[in-house]
Symmetry: C2
Subunit: 301 residues, 2 copies
């Protein structure tokens, strides 16, 4: 039995979708289908019932799910246990506000459980600033949003900085414009009936993407706020459109019928210096890759 098949199974089980699972594990849907079928044949059991488009776990699938989680965790622990130098000291992680809120809690918890003697220092910031801090050594690694190619053309220094760092795609976010309740549906920025965009700091990639989108058909000022809670509050007043990934919006039990507009998928990158991976960082990377597979919310269109 191949543990990568088990990870694929976990991804499908939590996404209840082959397509989403394929995104989550960085493979192509046909491959995911095949691996699941192989697993089913190997076990001699049907794991999913394919009713229409939905993939729902069968009873056997449910019981295998429990074992799969244990298997993957155990394999991770084995991997960590043989690490020649035990991670210790401080790991300085930079992160966007949004990632810290929606993606990191599970990973940080597991990491802390596994390596209690490593002290984690978390720094919030905008992608632009985080990249610089990783490069100059103030951070060991950071989660940033991958800037679209068009943005990098205009910010050559940023482009150069990223090129000199290692980057690994770890999450995919569905970037949204959140509209006040009652606001009519929009297809472009021209349809906006608000006075401003509510976003975080200027260095925030999400903000820059949204501003670029808005500038194509209107000229809205940006209101700068300190947190996603502040942004949502501002949207609730009725005169601002908020910018945030869907995963963050999902966290904030907001009325379900909130009106949103998709700006498209944006990858979250984990960046770090080449040839400089302290033992604590490698451990963090491994924990992250395992968590990723097992978290239902990690794949988005």
């Amino acid at each position: 039995m191949d543990l990568s098949s088990v990870e694929i199974f976990l991804a499908v089980a939590s996404a209840r979708s082959v397509t989403k699972a394929a995104k989550a594990v960085g493979r192509v849907p046909s491959n995911v289908t095949t691996r699941v079928q192989q697993l089913e044949e190997d076990l001699g059991v049907v794991l999913f019932s394919r009713d229409g488009k939905k993939m729902t776990l069968t009873r056997e699938g449910e019981t295998f799910l429990a074992y799969s989680n244990r298997l993957v965790v155990l394999a991770l622990e084995a991997r960590q246990a043989v690490r020649p130098v035990v991670p210790s000291g401080t790991l300085r992680v930079g992160t966007m506000e949004s990632t810290a809120a929606s993606r990191l809690p599970a990973a940080l918890t597991q990491f802390n459980q596994m390596w209690p003697e490593v002290s984690l220092r978390l720094t919030m910031g905008a992608s632009r600033d985080l990249a610089r801090d990783v490069l100059n050594g103030a951070l060991d690694c950071a989660f940033i949003a991958r800037p679209p190619a068009s943005m990098l053309e205009q910010d050559v220094a940023f482009d150069a900085e990223l090129k000199s760092l290692e980057a690994e795609a770890v999450f995919i976010e569905d970037l949204l414009i959140v509209l006040p309740s009652g606001h009519p549906q929009i297809t472009s920025a021209a349809d906006l009936r608000v006075g401003s965009l509510a976003a975080l700091e200027p260095g925030c990639t999400y903000r820059r993407i949204a501003e670029h989108w808005a500038s194509q058909s209107s000229s809205l000022p940006t209101t700068e706020l300190g947190s996603y809670h502040a942004i949502l509050a501002s949207v609730a007043t009725g005169d601002a459109a908020g910018v945030m990934p869907r995963s963050v919006l999902d966290l904030m039990h907001w009325p379900a019928n909130v009106q949103t507009h998709q700006l498209g998928p944006v990858e979250t990158l984990l960046i770090y210096r080449q040839n400089d991976r302290p033992s604590a960082f490698s451990a963090f990377q491994e924990v992250l890759s395992t968590i990723k597979v097992r978290d239902p919310r990690l794949a988005t269109n």
Copy 2:
């Protein structure tokens, strides 16, 4: 991580030898070497220290060993847990005396632990009789010694019976002639200075192999005894040469300097009827395959 690599690692760890491990898992030594190296690279750690011909576990190897056992067991449990129909009822297993003594205890224990509601009925017998009983349905499966080709040519009925059954090689035994203490070393049956061969029933394949070997250069009568203990006792009197696999001899803390002669490797087969694998039997087969990998004594030259 591929669990078959982990199983190979376990085999090497317990055999402390690539060659033996290769025999145990039914692969070629070069393959075992490669898989172990892959595993080491994947984990970023050296698992064995190669001092000369010996493969000894490093400190990291030791800790990985513990996890490997848990991983393999957990995978087995997962496999068993999803079994669509829970095994129950009676499983009738036939076995040679020798297999029951040396190989089965571990497997039967684990099976009983895993499926307490299956009642195991063990029947001892000679290979020849066991095969017939499996064929006529008196047994669900049996462990027999694979008869050499020359024997099957002379016993066409036996050959036909085996051909109509499924057979899977599960162990390899090193068949020995055990000599009385003080007996000079021998290279052929002509060197024997005893009055008889001590063996089990006529249908016993080991006995027939030994008799065939003896008949080439001398004509010794065979003394038929009821158990391996009786055979050894008979050898101790000084006038008989015993026939038994090394694994059995090893069990009977006999003086270490016992004089033996190798008759060569003999495979133990698990035989069962085609298209008739009750759920309890499949479960038994799976437990067996896992146990096999983890038992130090399952590979012999």
